[in-house]
């Protein structure tokens, strides 16, 4: 009995152990996504005879004789062009990267009104890493309440800001890919129809079972005999060239310590060999058949141990100078030592000193789409790579460097990317598939499993921060001293950058004459740490903002007031570890004071709301408190961030914009279209953006460091402005008038008061052999600063450690907000991800260096039930450097959340939690230690 898929019987039968998910994808239903492959995330949700199931844990053989509906077939079950839920997800923009959307839609499409009333329960099996669920809730329930694009705190139409224009600056333009996302037709990395990949091979990796070992030999005989295995690659088959998986404009920013395949393995999970086969099953069998002889080496697992003289050396074989490693003989990949003023004098002036060691944990990005890439060699011998990347142009550079290829011989494309969060600012798959494709001449695909994501990609850097800070009784910060130890794991990749950036804006946001920093980024034999939203700032800000509250408490001052007295004001020098400020960082605008006030006022209103509703008394076991934290971020990463955009007028009178930025839910595609539309006096829907393809434009450093709007957007704006000039000049030329008499207006140019259609102009230009096109470039400098302030009101149960978030408020200084709804979504998503890092998430590594939290059931990311609805407000500012007054707002909303929560818990309980995550069990045990847990014997009745 055939499996019926969307009304059509499948032509083949599933394999015995196949799950329904892969069967459906093999039948061409590429809208069915793999988020976890373990039943946890719901991205693969389909209906079997109308009942929603997770197809990744559904035995495909069980579907025989049944009718399966996937996202592709949902609309027709409703007899419409779109199912009402799809329509609502589109209208409410209930997605960002969209990788979870098909599963969300398929789940919500089965809900009755009762189920919609209890989304925490009914959507807890659908994980979204981008949105923070507010937009999803609105989409599922079809709520009205579209945030109005105008009004105080909306980020547009403030006193210093322009009014929104439909389809242009300040409008809530929907993402161009909306329809594709809600119908499951958006093409992510591996959503390539089979007929476009004839002869596709699959690659699987043998990974090290040891934390540190030398590979003595690899016997591939048995593996090569496995039917379907085509090739095995080991360290003997790869280039000698060392590189870094980290990707930056300058590769010299990162240490060269990695080989495609190495004969020394430095963490459990490192690649040892690659098996390429006709099927995934054969590749897996080939991996199992490899026989490797290892010589185990001593290993070191903590940065503290790694720093001890005589510790096992992770990269003791490297030359520090050529590999750009600070001290390979001491496991130090980078270090920073600085003192501004004299902290000794500063502490001598202090009336109160706070001293504490703060710790942040390993956190995984958990982008819903795992790392994946396909490489092939085309008929002209050119390497083609399709990858899940934030940085396709840098991937090309790295591949060229590693394999000794000229740039024109390599073409890298990113399709729609299913979430990044910094995790895809790395080369973790592309090099090995490129190697295989170059050697075999056939297309080769590698898709990481969710477990590989946890055990063998990258994490946020764990920081141990010994902090000492002093204040005078009148609330003047007198000294700030930090001893920072970061754990970069077995490979240095982003270690130096994260350490330096972490010690930047976190410190420079405070005026303090005496600042001292000693920081070390350490190698250990553990899974590497890499780029993660915030890039070191979230860790440092957790410590420093916690400390600011302690200082305020120590002198009995309102923490808001304490921050006001010490934070930088417009014009103040922003100093962290250098005596002079960064020469290209300026106050393009300043809204920190507004952000603080917005949060303080919102918290006050929240208190009143609870009081008025009679909900402020939760019972004797609940302690309530409020906490706030602030953060600053440079709007662009340092040392060069380049973008190039190309715009042209098409014959049909619309515009085409070619840009570098990848779309992974960051929403920059919408922003590019809006910026171009504003300059061209049209609407975003008339600007078709093509992107993240190294053949389209010259270069784009990539979508990291929150650069999508303020760097690439600036290039697009410049191109659009130039194109507007050219169109007007051309129009003036053919009508023999002044360019100043020609005004772009939607689909036409008004020439001396008479509209002429753009189609007509395009035709005339074509006939005249003139291309109405323009280019724009931006080099990422000078840079401005953006701010975020977060406030929480929480209730803590001193009998159980339960934590309730009663109110969550964030105020952001994003300059002029190009797309308020989308920017709000970025902030809500950042808050949710940060709540995960603050309360739940931890990649745990055992004594042998093994990651034990290797599936989503062991690594809890926030579900619908965990995330409060946050209030989001924007400062009324207009940046002089960003495009049309805009600033970056993608990483930074994450940064103040954890310390704001810790401060609220401290305010409620009096107990300072200095290690993340602040899980309920730890809260309880902390309160118990502080003697705050009520006596059990008398606790039967409350």
């Amino acid at each position: 009995m055939a499996i019926e898929i969307n009304g059509i019987p499948a032509g083949t039968e599933p394999r015995p152990g196949q799950c329904l998910r892969t069967f459906l994808r093999e039948q061409g239903n590429l809208g069915v996504k793999k988020g976890c492959d373990g039943g946890d995330c719901g991205a693969c949700t389909v209906h079997v005879d109308g009942t929603p199931v997770h197809s990744c844990i559904y035995p495909a053989v069980r579907a025989e004789g049944h009718a399966v509906t996937t996202i592709e077939g949902l609309a027709s079950t409703a007899g419409a062009d779109l199912h009402p839920v799809q329509q609502q997800f589109m209208e409410r923009q209930g997605f960002q990267c969209g990788f979870c959307t098909a599963g969300m839609v398929m789940t919500a499409a089965t809900f009755d009104d009762d189920q919609k009333e209890n989304l925490p329960r009914n959507l807890k099996g659908n994980l979204c890493r981008c949105t923070g669920y507010r937009a999803i809730s609105d989409a599922v329930c079809g709520h009205a309440g579209h945030p109005a694009p105008q009004g105080p705190g909306s980020g547009i139409a403030g006193e210093g800001q322009p009014d929104p224009v439909p389809g242009q600056l300040g409008d809530d333009v929907p993402a161009p890919a909306s329809r594709a996302v809600v119908t499951g037709t958006a093409r992510y990395t591996l959503d390539v129809p089979a007929d476009q990949l004839q002869g596709l091979l699959h690659l699987k990796l043998l990974r090290s079972p040891h934390a540190h070992a030398r590979v003595l030999s690899i016997n591939t005989d048995a593996a090569m005999k496995v039917p379907g295995v085509v090739a095995v690659f080991t360290h003997q088959d790869v280039p000698e060239q060392l590189f870094s998986t980290a990707q930056h404009e300058l590769f010299t920013d990162d240490p060269d310590d990695t080989r495609v395949l190495d004969d020394v393995v430095r963490f459990r999970g490192q690649r040892v060999a690659a098996v390429v086969a006709e099927t995934v099953a054969a590749a897996e069998a080939g991996v199992r058949a490899l026989a490797v002889d290892y010589k185990e080496l001593p290993a070191v697992f903590t940065p503290q141990d790694a720093l001890v003289p005589g510790a096992p050396l992770v990269h003791g074989d490297k030359d520090g100078t050529s590999a750009r490693i600070s001290r390979p003989d001491r496991n130090v990949v980078a270090e920073l030592h600085s003192e501004l003023g004299s902290v000794a004098e500063g502490f001598a002036q202090a009336d109160f000193i706070h001293e504490r060691t703060y710790q942040t944990q390993r956190v995984q990005h958990v982008a819903l789409e795992t790392h994946a890439a396909i490489a092939s060699v085309d008929s002209e011998g050119r390497l083609q790579v399709r990858t899940s990347s934030q940085v396709p142009f840098l991937v090309r550079r790295t591949l060229c460097r590693v394999f000794g290829l000229p740039e024109e011989q390599v073409h890298v494309v990113a399709g729609r990317v299913g979430g990044g969060f910094g995790g895809k600012q790395e080369v973790l798959t592309e090099d090995i598939v490129a190697l295989a494709a170059l050697k075999l001449g056939r297309p080769v695909q590698l898709e990481l499993t969710r477990t590989e994501q946890f055990t063998a990609t990258t994490t946020r850097h764990p920081f141990t921060i010994k902090l000492r800070a002093g204040t005078s009784n009148d609330g003047r910060l007198t000294a700030l001293e930090l001893d920072v130890l970061t754990n970069t794991g077995a490979y240095g990749n982003h270690g130096p950058g994260v350490m330096f950036h972490g010690c930047g804006e976190s410190l420079s946001v405070y005026k303090c004459a005496n600042k001292k920093v000693d920081a070390h980024a350490m190698y250990t034999n553990t899974v590497p740490a890499g780029a993660f939203r915030g890039y070191g700032l979230s860790q440092m800000i957790f410590a420093i903002e916690s400390a600011m509250d302690e200082l305020a408490a120590g002198i009995g001052m309102d923490p808001f007031e304490f921050r006001r007295r010490n934070m930088v004001r417009e014009g103040d020098l922003m100093l962290s570890t250098q005596p002079e400020p960064e020469e290209d960082v300026h106050y393009g605008s300043y809204g920190l004071d507004q952000c603080l006030s917005l949060v303080r006022d919102a918290l006050a209103r929240g208190r009143e709301r609870y009081r008025a509703a009679g909900l402020d008394e939760l019972g004797p076991e609940w302690l309530t408190g409020e906490g706030t934290a602030l953060s600053m971020i440079d709007t662009v990463p340092p040392r060069g961030h380049f973008a190039h955009s190309r715009l042209r007028l098409l014959p049909d009178g619309t515009y085409q914009a070619d840009v570098g930025t990848a779309e992974f839910g960051n929403g920059t595609t919408t922003v590019h279209a809006q910026l171009a539309a504003t300059a061209l006096s049209t609407e975003a829907a008339k600007v078709v953006v093509r992107q993240s393809d190294t053949d389209l434009i010259e270069h784009d450093t990539g979508a990291f460091g929150s650069a999508g709007t303020v760097v690439a957007g600036k290039a697009t704006l410049a191109a659009a402005e130039e194109l507007a000039v050219r169109i007007r000049a051309f129009a003036a030329g053919i009508r023999q008038t002044q360019a100043s008499a020609c005004v772009l207006d939607g689909d036409s140019v008004v020439i001396d008061g008479t509209p002429v259609a753009l189609t007509e102009l395009a035709k005339a230009a074509a006939e005249a052999g003139v291309e109405l096109a323009a280019e724009g470039r931006w080099g990422g400098t000078p840079r401005s600063v953006a701010f975020n302030v977060h406030g929480f009101r929480v209730a803590v149960n001193r009998g159980t450690g339960e934590l309730k978030i009663l109110q969550s408020v964030q105020a952001a200084d994003a300059g002029v907000v190009v797309n308020p709804r989308q920017c709000r979504g970025q902030i809500e998503g950042g808050i949710a991800q940060a709540i995960g890092a603050a309360l739940y998430e931890e990649v745990v590594i055992d004594d042998a260096g093994r990651v034990t939290t290797d599936i989503l059931r062991q690594y809890h990311i926030p579900t619908f039930a965990d995330v409060p609805r946050s209030e989001v407000y924007f400062a009324d500012t207009n940046d002089t450097m960003g495009p049309l007054g805009a600033k970056s707002m993608s990483e930074s909303p994450f940064n103040p959340v954890a310390p704001a929560l810790a401060n609220a818990i401290r305010n409620a309980t009096g107990v300072r939690f200095a290690s993340l995550p602040i899980a309920r069990d730890k809260i309880y045990l902390g309160l118990k230690e502080a003697g705050l847990v009520p006596n059990l014997q008398r606790s039967g009745l409350s």
């Binding site: 015995p16 152990g17 844990i57 099996g125 945030p147 705190g153 099953a281």
Partner: protein, 311 residues
């Protein structure tokens, strides 16, 4: 995920057919979640498919309730509303839905996952283990050659992901006796996250209005049952817990530190004791955690939201 080492799927309920490399396939939600190496370094090769066993999922009689191992969690969730159950005055049925809701897994997974699958996976947080242990369930196990044996659910699970099944043995059903179903019950649960995996799950029962049974699950590596002829006082209950649960029996994993699980066990046990000591429906009782009382909504999602200015 694909179980690429599986060579065949064999429809059978005969333990005699079982051989090394086989796994019983009920709903598949655990097997396909962990994959070919679900049971260790040796790959699974065949799935013995119970999909066509045809066992009646739920059978209600005067003697109690028989749950087939293949009864899905979705079917179990409907049990309290079945005509055959509604007509009986079995307060113990109040436990069914809170236990189902204690799954960290989505309701969608319940459409496939089974009562037997949860028991046989034998995780400390397995909520069907809590339910069945809480209602004095007895497991019927089929062995090769038509042999059958019965084991109390509290003894079925022997530790973290271990149970009393010999290789090839098949869990056939769980019997929940009418005597336990007829008792007043209480339920408490705590998790480190909202609606997350259980860190502590306790069930209490007042049999015949006098004798007290307490079942500790999730907090401990295996279910622990405490029986009292009469409701103990607070101290006696605490002493009994001291004795019944040695420190190293508290489970230690990412879902809760043992010290927290231990203290929460005492706390929730006391809440349950107090609830059952008070008249039914007495006000003012403390109820930590979620899902209880069974008619109530979870305590979460109480954030009082602002309507934003300008919205």
């Amino acid at each position: 995920m694909d179980m690429n080492t599986i060579e065949s799927v064999v429809p059978t309920t005969d333990p005699g057919q079982w051989r090394d490399g086989d796994a019983w396939l009920a709903g598949g939600t655990v097997l396909f979640s962990y994959g070919s190496f679900a049971f260790g370094p040796q790959p699974l090769k065949r799935l013995l498919d119970l999909g066509s066993a045809g066992w009646t999922p739920v059978t209600v009689t005067d003697a109690g309730i028989e749950l087939a191992a293949t009864c899905t969690v979705a079917e179990l969730y409907k049990l309290p509303g079945l005509p055959a159950a509604v007509d009986r005055s079995w307060p113990g049925l109040d436990l069914v839905r809170p236990c189902c809701d204690s799954f960290v897994a989505s309701f969608k997974v319940w459409n496939m996952s089974t009562v037997g699958g949860n028991l046989c996976t034998s995780l400390p947080a397995g909520p069907i283990i809590s339910l069945c242990a809480g209602l004095d369930g007895t497991a019927t196990i089929l062995g090769p050659g038509g042999s059958t044996r019965s084991v109390p659910v509290t003894e079925f699970v022997t530790g973290d992901a271990t149970n009393c099944l010999a290789p090839g043995e098949l869990l056939r059903s769980i019997h929940l006796p009418a005597s336990a179903l007829a008792s007043r019950v209480a339920f408490r649960r705590l998790s480190l996250s909202n609606l997350g995996r259980s860190g502590v799950l306790l069930i209490g029962r007042l049999d015949g209005g006098t004798s007290f049974v307490l079942i500790v699950t999730a907090a401990t590596k295996r279910p622990v049952q405490l029986r009292f002829d009469a409701l103990p006082d607070t101290d006696a209950l605490a002493r009994a817990l001291d004795e019944a649960v040695p420190t190293d029996l508290y489970h230690n994993d990412i879902h809760g530190l043992p010290a927290w699980r231990r203290d929460m066990t005492y706390r929730l046990a006391e809440e349950i004791r107090a609830e059952l000591a008070a008249p039914e429906g007495a006000p003012g009782l403390r109820s930590s955690g979620d899902f209880w009382p069974p008619s109530g909504r979870g305590l979460h999602a109480q954030t009082l939201n602002a309507r934003q200015e300008g919205a």
